[in-house]
């Protein structure tokens, strides 16, 4: 009985994360990432370059003994590179039991979205950055583009 209670509470904690998004900025645009996939946010780290990778994979870094690949979201979205500053940080995400770090210009806050407030992305954007989006939400006076992490990593995940 005690065990099921623990499992239940763990499950409900995960359920609590559903619908909650971590928002971050790339330039002027605000993006959202499902909190469910976020492990932690760390400052910039020394990154070891690895040859033969696409531009947007900056290399690998040592996260407490784990070797984690780092992706520059700016470059992944095809936007011009800019120097990292003290607001630049790395969002460590998890997908398929792998950790991947995402470099973003700055992290803003965590928001809760309900399904009704968000609209699906336009269907024609297959070639542009919005092919990674799951929905677009209006929160107060700003618009948050929610990233579908599976689509985002699709080209990089091992087949």
């Amino acid at each position: 009985m005690a065990n099921t209670a623990v499992v239940d509470s763990a499950q409900s904690m995960l359920d609590d994360l559903r619908g909650r998004y971590l928002t971050f900025n790339i330039g002027e645009v605000s993006y959202g990432l499902e909190l469910y996939h976020v492990i932690e946010i760390i400052g910039m780290q020394p990154i070891t370059k690895v040859p033969n990778l696409p531009d947007y994979i900056k290399g690998i870094t040592n996260l407490r003994g784990r070797v984690v690949p780092i992706i520059d979201v700016r470059l992944k979205f095809g936007q011009p590179e800019r120097d990292y500053d003290d607001k630049t940080c790395i969002i460590v995400t998890t997908i398929d039991d792998m950790n991947v770090g995402l470099i973003v210009d700055e992290v803003s806050d965590v928001i809760t979205l309900d399904e009704q407030a968000s609209a699906p992305p336009p269907g024609f954007g297959a070639a542009s950055a919005d092919r990674y989006l799951s929905s677009i939400a209006q929160v107060g006076d700003r618009v948050v583009m929610n990233i579908d992490i599976v689509k985002f990593f699709q080209n990089d995940l091992p087949q």
Binding site: P46, T48, K49, V50, P51, N52, L53, P54, I57, I60, T61, N62, G65, V67, V68, P69, M98, N99, V100, D156, L157, P158, Q159
Partner: protein
């Protein structure tokens, strides 16, 4: 019969012990099968092995295993007493012992996975006991199943029988088989039984009441529907046959036997269904003297081996890795830089020496000889060649070569596949071989050698070799070609067979050719940091060369700097390092690439910053340093900014996220975390030099 919780700690030991014993058993029997005779020591050894298995299985309450072990033991008991009897039954004997050994191995896996036994060895036990009777020279009617068993079995528990009292009259046993795929066999059986009931005084079916459970269809498909009946007065057997013939979808029926006493049949039947019961009785037949003899080889000897759970060794290895990293963290600590610390340095050297030694010991604990894997291959070669009616001799050399346990475990399956492939696709059948003027017995040679920091294992056969045109053709059809056909070299063509979804055999056989073959082999070998190469000459055979690292975990490396990046080059591949003082020493090839003449030999120069496209300020050849490295096939000098010093590093694989980008083929085998927390990339001389071409 799941085991008791209190027994769990014993279970691991039991599985380990039994598996080891079974491997020994295979080895002895394989050897004996070759010479067609048993050495005395071999018989004793088998007897002892079976006795031990029986004893521990009984202790663990795995009665079916104990029963089977007992049956094998019985056979060898007789052989030991009457070695002459062996001649008449040997072929059968070897097969049966192998079957028993396979059965036990499967059960071991079941026990490991589910903590209980899964199968019913009764059939094997019956065969073995029949063999035992034959050996004893007893007159055995050929169809009497397990003659000596029912005699020693007490009358079966009456409630277990679905039968009512036996009336008089001739009793028949009939097997009815339904057409394949006619569906609902159980219902059809039920209908037939209802039809026959009127014609019989008594009718029993196996399975009983088939209509009650649809899953009984499977039994009927496998064993047929068995009817045991006594025709009613005035009804002839022919009338019954007529009814059966009139029923639809019946493929065939046969009269198994006519037997008078039903009780006897039931006795046999019950004992077959309920294996464990007869185990207790025959076991008492083991005389004390016999038991004492069986115990003899093991007793009184000093036990100097202990078995350790691999998990603990893995843990030890991990800790060792941490220790090496931490040690370099302390010794190369930034706080200590530029300080004169004579005593500290002295102690640090001591510490280094000890950790080195400790590491060697930890490594050696994990090393196991390849002979175990080779042994299993013998078994595979034997089984496959027997099934395919080919004659194959597998010669293994260098079985004493040791590799890390993890590697040893990982290469078993790929090797098995390759040996199967060689027998199935490589070696021709005896007629063809005779026609080609080859010896009828095909030969597969497996050889392991220790070359530098690597183990090189070759598997070569003298079969028909690979057909380059066929491979190319197949690859074209499957859309696996990536460049014009004329540009493929022989080696490249052969390597095509290791691409996913490639299988040259048209017909899928039981052993190989499921289309998952060689690419899985390659994946498994690459997973442990190895590489595989194929060479082949038509009609002379094929050779597979597999190179695997001695150990995965820790390498002695030289730290090199290129710009901001630190590389680690395994010491084993470094021949020398030197500075070029005069740029005139550099020669230029016709395509402008740099070379250097060293002791009369010309080596190409590979600039790491250039091939990896890294930024560095040191591009003048006289400012940096050249390192002469040795790959598997070639040598070259690599140009780096500076040498940072020697260090032991713990190899970590690249995150799977990067596996898509062929980082390995670029010449990087993994990465490592240095004392200060930065990541260093580990160079792999073979791939580095190969991709330079």
């Amino acid at each position: 019969m799941a085991i008791d919780a209190s027994m769990e700690p014993m279970l691991e030991v039991f599985i380990f012990e039994t598996t080891t014993l079974l491997e020994q058993l295979d080895k002895i029997v394989l050897g004996a099968e070759k010479t067609r005779s048993f050495e005395n020591s071999g018989i004793n050894e088998i007897f002892r092995i079976m006795h031990t298995i029986k004893g521990s299985a009984a202790m663990m309450d795995f009665t079916s295993i104990a029963a089977l072990a007992h049956a094998v033991e019985d056979v060898f008991f007789i052989i030991r007493e009457h070695p002459d009897a062996l001649g008449s039954v040997s072929e059968n004997l070897f097969d049966l012992v192998f079957l028993a050994s396979d059965y036990l191995k499967e059960e071991m896996e079941a026990v490991q996975a589910f903590h209980e036994t899964r199968g019913n060895p009764q059939n094997l036990i019956d065969q073995l006991s029949r063999l035992a009777s034959l050996l004893k020279g007893e007159e055995v009617p050929p169809d009497a199943v397990g003659t000596d068993l029912p005699a020693s079995v007490p009358a079966p528990a009456p409630e277990a029988t679905p039968v009512v009292a036996a009336p008089a009259g001739q009793r028949y046993r009939l097997r009815v088989r339904y057409e394949e795929g006619c569906q609902m066999e159980n219902i059809r059986a039920f209908m037939l039984i209802t039809q026959l009931e009127d014609l019989c005084d008594e009718l029993i079916s196996i399975p009983d009441r088939p209509e009650s459970d649809a899953s009984l269809s499977a039994d009927i498909i496998r064993d047929g529907l068995i009817l045991i009946f006594t025709p009613a007065a005035g009804v002839s057997l022919d009338e019954i046959y007529a009814v059966i013939e009139a029923a639809v979808n019946i493929e065939s029926y046969e009269l198994l036997d006519a037997e008078a006493p039903l009780d006897d049949f039931e006795a046999v039947h019950i004992s077959t269904a309920d294996g464990p019961t007869e185990d207790d009785i025959p076991r008492e037949e083991v005389t004390p003297a016999q038991a004492a003899r069986a115990m003899l080889p093991g007793s009184g000897r000093q036990q100097s081996l202990i078995s350790v759970h691999q998990y603990k060794l893995d843990q030890l290895m991990d800790l060792m890795g941490e220790l090496v990293t931490t040690e370099s963290m302390v010794i190369n600590n930034v706080d200590l830089r530029d300080m004169r610390l004579d005593n500290f340095s002295k102690s640090a050297r001591e510490l280094r020496k000890l950790t080195d030694e400790l590491q060697d010991v930890v490594m050696s604990i994990r090393m196991v000889p390849l002979s175990g894997v080779f042994q299993r291959m013998q078994r595979i070669a034997r089984d496959v060649s027997k099934k395919l009616d080919k004659q194959v001799e597998l010669i293994t050399l260098g079985g004493e070569t040791e590799v890390d346990k993890t590697i040893n475990d990982a290469i078993g399956d790929p090797f098995m596949h390759m040996v199967r492939n060689s027998v199935d696709h490589g070696i021709e059948d005896p007629q063809t071989r005779r026609r080609l003027g080859k010896p009828e017995v095909g030969r597969i040679v497996m050889e392991a050698k220790n070359v530098g920091g690597e183990i090189v294992i070759t598997i070569s056969d003298d079969g028909k070799g690979l057909d380059a045109d066929k491979i190319l053709d197949k690859a074209r059809r499957n859309g696996l070609l990536t460049k014009p056909e004329s540009e493929y070299s022989k080696t490249e063509i052969y390597n095509l067979i290791m691409l996913p979804g490639f299988s040259t055999n048209q017909a899928v056989t039981e052993f190989s050719g499921r289309g998952v073959g060689m690419d899985v082999v390659r994946q498994n070998i690459e997973k442990v940091g190895g590489s595989i190469n194929i060479d082949s000459t038509p009609n002379e055979g094929s050779t597979f060369t597999i190179k695997i690292p001695l150990t995965l975990a820790i390498v002695d490396g030289m730290e090199l700097a290129v710009g901001d990046t630190i590389f680690t080059l395994p010491i084993t591949s470094i021949q020398q390092s030197f500075k070029v003082n005069d740029p005139k020493q550099i020669l230029y090839n016709t395509d402008g690439s740099e070379m250097i003449l060293l002791r009369g030999k010309c080596f190409p120069i590979i600039r790491l910053h250039r091939i990896f496209n890294f930024e560095t300020e040191i591009t003048d050849i006289t400012e940096g340093i050249l390192i002469l490295v040795e790959g598997a096939r070639e040598e070259a000098c690599i140009f780096v900014d500076e040498l940072l010093g020697e260090q032991q590093v713990v190899v970590k694989p690249f995150p799977p996220f990067l596996s898509k980008y062929a980082v390995k083929r670029m010449g990087l085998s993994g990465c490592t975390i240095l004392g200060d927390g930065t990541i260093s990339l580990i160079l792999d001389a073979n791939n580095l030099l190969a991709q330079h071409h």
